[in-house]
C-alpha cells in the first residue's frame, strides 16, 4: 500500500497541488475569494453549464447506442467476434488528435452524411455527441457486456417457465443484476465526456468550450493561472463526486451474483429478430466506429506506392530532428516502461484494496486512484514542470517523466481490471496457506498469482494500449529527439504541405494498427471473470 500511496502523492497530488497553489496563493495568502469571482463570471457559468449538459447528453446517447451492442457481444456467437471486440476498443485508446480529423471526414463537409443527405454536423453539438459515442462505445460494451455475458440465462428462463412474460422476466431478473454495471459504465462515460478536450476542440469549433478546454486555454494561452486554478478545483469537485458514486455502484455490483463462464452463455442468433438485431449492431459499428478509422487508412495511402510510409524513414523531414519512423520505437519503449510502472503500482494497490481489513480510508483510495482520469492533462503537465524540478526529484530532463505521466492514466485501468478478480479469490485459501507457514509473499505467489495471472496480463495489455495513445500529458513533456507517435502526428499536422499531412495519416494508421494488435492479443487472454474494462 505504501508504494501506490507514495506514487500517487509524488507524481499526482503534489504536482497538481503545486500548480493550483501557484494560481491561488499570493505571498503566502490563499486567495479563496477568487473562487467566487470566477464563478460570478457569466462566461464561466456558461462553460460549466455546457460541460454538464453535453456530458449528460453524450452519456445518454452512448448508452442508447452501445447497450444493444453490449447485449450482442454478451449473448451472441458470431465469426470474428473477438477481433470486432478489439476493433470497437481501438477508438477508446487512440488520441483524439488522430481520430478527430478522421471523424470530421464522416460528419463534416463532403463526409458520408453530407453526400447521402446533405447534412453537415461539424461545429454543431451533434458532432461532439457522436464523437463521444465513438470514443466511449467500448466502455459500455466492455463493462456491461462483460457482466451480461456471465449472467446465467437460465435464471431468466426459469422466471418465464413460472409464467412471467419475456419483458417481465427481463425486468425482474436481468435488469436488477445489470443495473450496477450500467450505472458504473454510465458514470465512466460521464467522467470521460465531462472532461472532454480534443473532441470538443476539434469538432466543436471555438464556440463550444468545456471546463477542460477552458483550463487549457487559461493556463496555456491566456496565462491566467488563478482562473485556471479555480476551474481546476471546480472540475476536481465534480470528478470526485462522480467517482464517489462510481465507487459505490462498483461495490454494489461486486455483491454476490451467480456468475457463469461467459463461453457457455453465448450462442448463434436464432430467428429473424435476433439476426436483425445483430445486423443492426454490426451496421452501427461499421458506420460509427470503423468508417472513421477507415478514412485514416485511406488518406494514408494517398501517395502512390506507399509514398507517405516511405517518407517516414527520411531524415530530412524538417518537422523533426529524427526520421518520424523513430517515433514508433520511442512510443513502444515509453509504453513498455509505463506499463511496467502501472502494473506494479496498480497490482499493489488492488491487492491492498482486497484485504479483508481494508478500512474506509483504503477503500477511498480506490476512488482516488481514478482521479488522474478526470484531472486535466495541462494541469498535471504544468504541475510536473514546477514541482519536479529539484533534487531528489529533478525529473524534468529525464526520460522517465513520460512513462510516469502515462502510468498515471494506466494505473486506474490496472486496478479496475484486477480488483474483481482478486476479490473473487477465496480468502480462506490464503488463510490456509498462511496457517501452514507460508510467508505473505509465498501466499501471493502460490495462491493469488496463478488465479490472477491472466487478469494481470489483460491489465498490462490495456495499460500498454492506453500509454501508446496518451497524448495530453505526453505532449507537455515529450522531448523533441524522442517524440511519441501521437506527439509526432500532432507535430506533422502542425505544418503545411502534402508530405507532412500524408505522413501524419500514415503514422496515425500505424498507431491504430499497433493498438489494435495489442487489443486483439488481449481478447485471446480474456479472463473467465472479466474486469470492468
Amino acid at each position: 500500500m505504501a508504494l501506490p500511496v507514495a506514487f500517487f502523492a509524488v507524481f499526482f497530488a503534489y504536482p497538481v497541488a503545486a500548480i493550483v497553489a501557484r494560481g491561488l496563493e499570493v505571498d503566502g495568502v490563499w486567495q479563496l475569494g477568487r473562487i467566487g469571482d470566477v464563478l460570478a463570471q457569466s462566461d464561466v457559468r456558461h462553460v460549466l453549464w455546457f460541460t454538464t449538459w453535453q456530458a449528460l447528453a453524450s452519456t445518454g446517447l452512448t448508452l442508447l447506442v452501445a447497450l444493444p451492442g453490449a447485449y450482442v457481444f454478451a449473448r451472441f456467437d458470431f465469426p470474428g467476434k473477438q477481433v470486432l471486440r478489439a476493433v470497437v476498443t481501438v477508438p477508446f485508446v487512440l488520441p483524439t488528435v488522430v481520430v478527430g480529423t478522421a471523424f470530421l471526414a464522416l460528419v463534416g463537409r463532403g463526409g458520408l452524411l453530407d453526400e447521402l443527405w446533405g447534412m453537415r454536423l461539424d461545429t454543431t453539438v451533434w458532432a461532439i455527441l457522436l464523437a463521444h459515442v465513438f470514443f466511449n462505445y467500448a466502455v459500455v460494451v466492455r463493462t456491461v457486456g462483460g457482466l451480461w455475458s456471465q449472467l446465467d440465462p437460465r435464471q431468466e428462463e426459469a422466471a418465464r417457465m413460472l409464467g412471467a412474460s419475456r419483458l417481465r422476466a427481463w425486468r425482474q431478473v436481468t435488469l436488477p443484476a445489470l443495473a450496477p454495471a450500467v450505472a458504473a459504465a454510465a458514470l465512466m462515460v460521464f467522467l470521460f465526456t465531462f472532461t472532454s478536450f480534443g473532441v470538443v476542440q476539434i469538432l466543436g469549433g471555438p464556440t463550444f468550450s468545456t471546463l477542460e478546454v477552458e483550463i487549457y486555454r487559461q493556463t496555456s494561452q491566456v496565462f491566467d493561472l488563478s482562473t485556471a486554478a479555480v476551474l481546476t478545483l471546480i472540475q476536481f469537485a465534480a470528478v470526485v463526486a462522480v467517482l464517489a458514486v462510481h465507487a459505490w455502484t462498483v461495490r454494489r455490483r461486486e455483491s454476490a451474483l451467480r456468475l457463469v463462464d461467459a463461453a457457455t452463455t453465448a450462442r448463434r442468433p436464432r430467428g429473424a429478430g435476433q439476426w436483425a438485431l445483430l445486423a443492426g449492431v454490426l451496421g452501427v459499428i461499421a458506420v460509427l466506429l470503423v468508417l472513421p478509422l477507415a478514412v485514416l487508412v485511406q488518406r494514408s495511402l494517398g501517395a502512390s506506392g506507399f509514398g507517405y510510409y516511405r517518407a517516414l524513414t527520411r531524415e530530412d523531414g524538417g518537422a523533426f530532428l529524427v526520421p518520424p519512423i523513430e517515433a514508433i520505437g520511442n512510443s513502444l519503449q515509453y509504453a513498455v516502461a509505463a506499463t511496467a510502472i502501472a502494473v506494479v503500482i496498480g497490482a499493489l494497490a488492488a491487492t491492498a484494496l482486497t484485504r479483508r481489513d481494508a478500512g474506509r480510508f483504503v477503500r477511498g483510495f480506490d476512488a482516488l486512484l481514478m482521479l488522474p482520469l478526470g484531472v486535466s492533462a495541462v494541469t498535471v503537465g504544468f504541475g510536473f514542470l514546477i514541482a519536479l524540478d529539484e533534487p531528489p526529484l529533478d525529473l524534468r530532463a529525464s526520460w522517465i517523466l513520460v512513462p510516469l505521466a502515462q502510468a498515471l492514466v494506466g494505473v486506474p485501468f490496472v486496478v479496475r481490471t484486477m480488483l474483481p478478480v482478486l476479490r473473487a479469490v477465496d480468502g480462506r485459501l490464503r488463510e490456509a496457506a498462511a496457517v501452514l507457514g507460508a510467508s505473505p509473499w509465498r501466499v501471493w505467489r502460490e495462491v493469488d498469482l496463478p488465479m490472477v495471472r491472466r487478469a494481470l496480463l489483460v491489465a498490462a495489455g490495456f495499460a500498454f494500449a492506453v500509454s501508446l495513445g496518451e497524448f495530453g500529458a505526453t505532449v507537455f513533456i515529450a522531448r523533441p529527439d524522442n517524440p511519441t507517435l501521437p506527439v509526432a502526428v500532432a507535430r506533422l499536422l502542425g505544418r503545411p504541405g502534402d508530405m507532412n499531412y500524408g505522413q501524419a495519416m500514415a503514422l496515425s494508421t500505424i498507431l491504430m494498427l499497433v493498438c489494435a494488435v495489442a487489443l486483439v492479443v488481449l481478447e485471446r487472454l480474456r479472463t473467465d471473470r472479466s474486469g470492468e474494462f
Partner: protein, 349 residues
C-alpha cells in the same frame, strides 16, 4: 545529427545536464515546437565553440513562453528562443531574461530591434501572417484574389475566408492585431463586424483552418475544404512546394500582400541560466550568418541579419510582404487581453 547528439548528451547525465555546473559543456536551448535547424550548421557551431547543443521543445509558442516563465527560477535551459512581438512584454515583465548584447546585433535590420537600451532579447527571425489564397479556385471562378484587408469585406469574397480563434491561436491573434494596427482603436471592431457579416468562419486552430477548411492546401484538398482564403503565413506557399512529391513548378497557393501582420521572434539568455557563457555563445550563433541563412528552409521564416541570403525557392514562392502591419510590443501588451475579449464577444457570440 542534433537529435543524436542531444540524445547522447542527455542519456549520459539525465536529470542534470544543462543545469549542471557553470563549466558545463552542454548548452540547452528551450524553444517551441517549430524549432528546426540543419545538422551540419549545428555541428559546425559545436565544433567551433566546444559546446554541445541540447534542444528542448516546449509546445506551441504561447505555451513555451508560459512554461519558461513558470520555471524561471530554475530554468530548463540557458537560452530561450521563440518569444514573438505579441508576447514579448509578458516575457520581459516577468523577468525571464538577463541582458546580453549578442555579437552581430549591430547588423540586425533596425526595424526588428527591440529593447534597445537593455538588450534583454536578441531578434532572430521574422515572418508575416497573411491571408493565403487557393490559386485554382480563383482561376476557375474567374475571380481576382483579394489583395488587402479592405478587399476581404467585399461581397465577391463572401463566405470564402476562414481564420483562427484569436484567443487560442497565434496566427489568429496576429491577424486581429493586423486589423487593429490598420483600422486603429476606433475602427477595428467595425471592420470585424463587416467581416462577420461577410461570412468569415472562425475555427480554433491553425491546423484546422489550414488542413481542413482551406481548399488550397494539400490537407484541405483531401478534406474537401471549401474555403479558398485562409489566415496563415507568407511562407506557407513555399512549404507547399518543398513538401510535395514531386515538387510542382509553381505554388498552388498565393499570398494577399496587403493583409499581412509582421511577427518578429526573439531569443534571450534566461535569467537563472546555469551555463550563461554557453548561452551567450549560442545567442551569437543564432545571429551568425550561417544560422541566419539556414533558417528559411527549416523554420520557414526570414532572417533579420543584414545581407543574409535567402534560398531561391523561398524568396520566389514566399516573398516578404512589402508593407506589412506592425504594432509596438508595448501597445500590444497594453491592449492584447482587452482586444481578444472584445473580439471574442463580437465574433464568436
Amino acid at each position: 545529427m542534433v537529435g543524436t547528439l542531444a540524445a547522447c548528451g542527455s542519456s549520459s547525465d539525465d536529470g542534470g545536464d544543462g543545469s549542471g555546473s557553470g563549466g558545463s559543456k552542454t548548452v540547452t536551448l528551450v524553444s517551441h515546437d517549430s524549432w528546426a535547424a540543419s545538422k551540419d550548421v549545428i555541428a559546425a557551431f559545436e565544433k567551433n565553440s566546444g559546446y554541445k547543443v541540447k534542444v528542448l521543445e516546449d509546445g506551441d509558442a504561447g505555451q513555451a513562453v508560459n512554461k519558461a516563465i513558470l520555471t524561471k527560477d530554475n530554468p530548463q535551459g540557458d537560452v530561450f528562443f521563440g518569444v514573438d512581438n505579441t508576447l514579448l512584454s509578458r516575457a520581459l515583465d516577468n523577468g525571464l531574461f538577463q541582458p546580453y548584447e549578442a555579437k552581430g546585433s549591430d547588423l540586425v535590420l533596425p526595424e526588428y530591434r527591440a529593447d534597445r537600451d537593455k538588450h534583454r532579447v536578441t531578434p532572430v527571425d521574422t515572418g508575416d501572417i497573411c491571408v493565403n489564397y487557393d490559386k485554382a479556385y480563383f482561376a476557375e471562378h474567374g475571380l481576382t484574389p483579394p489583395k488587402t484587408l479592405d478587399d476581404l469585406v467585399k461581397p465577391e469574397y463572401k463566405d470564402l475566408l476562414v481564420t483562427e480563434n484569436a484567443g487560442s491561436s497565434s496566427p489568429g491573434l496576429g491577424f486581429l492585431l493586423g486589423t487593429a494596427a490598420k483600422y486603429g482603436d476606433a475602427g477595428w471592431e467595425g471592420y470585424w463586424k463587416k467581416l462577420k457579416s461577410n461570412g468569415v468562419k472562425v475555427v480554433d486552430s491553425w491546423e484546422q483552418a489550414y488542413n481542413e477548411e482551406f481548399s488550397g492546401s494539400a490537407g484541405g484538398k483531401k478534406a474537401k475544404g471549401d474555403r479558398p482564403l485562409v489566415v496563415s503565413y507568407a511562407s506557407s506557399p513555399p512549404v507547399e512546394v518543398v513538401y510535395a512529391d514531386p515538387q510542382p513548378a509553381t505554388a498552388p497557393t498565393g499570398v494577399a500582400d496587403g493583409t499581412c501582420f509582421r511577427q518578429v521572434e526573439y531569443a534571450g539568455l534566461l535569467s537563472n541560466a546555469k551555463n550563461p557563457e554557453g548561452g551567450k555563445a549560442l545567442l551569437d550563433f543564432l545571429l551568425s550568418e550561417s544560422f541566419q541563412e539556414d533558417m528559411p528552409l527549416n523554420m520557414f521564416v526570414y532572417p533579420v541579419r543584414e545581407g543574409a541570403q535567402v534560398p531561391e525557392v523561398f524568396s520566389k514562392f514566399g516573398p516578404q510582404a512589402k508593407d506589412p502591419q506592425t504594432l509596438d510590443p508595448v501597445k500590444i501588451a497594453d491592449n492584447r487581453d482587452q482586444w481578444v475579449k472584445s473580439w471574442t464577444s463580437l465574433v464568436l457570440k
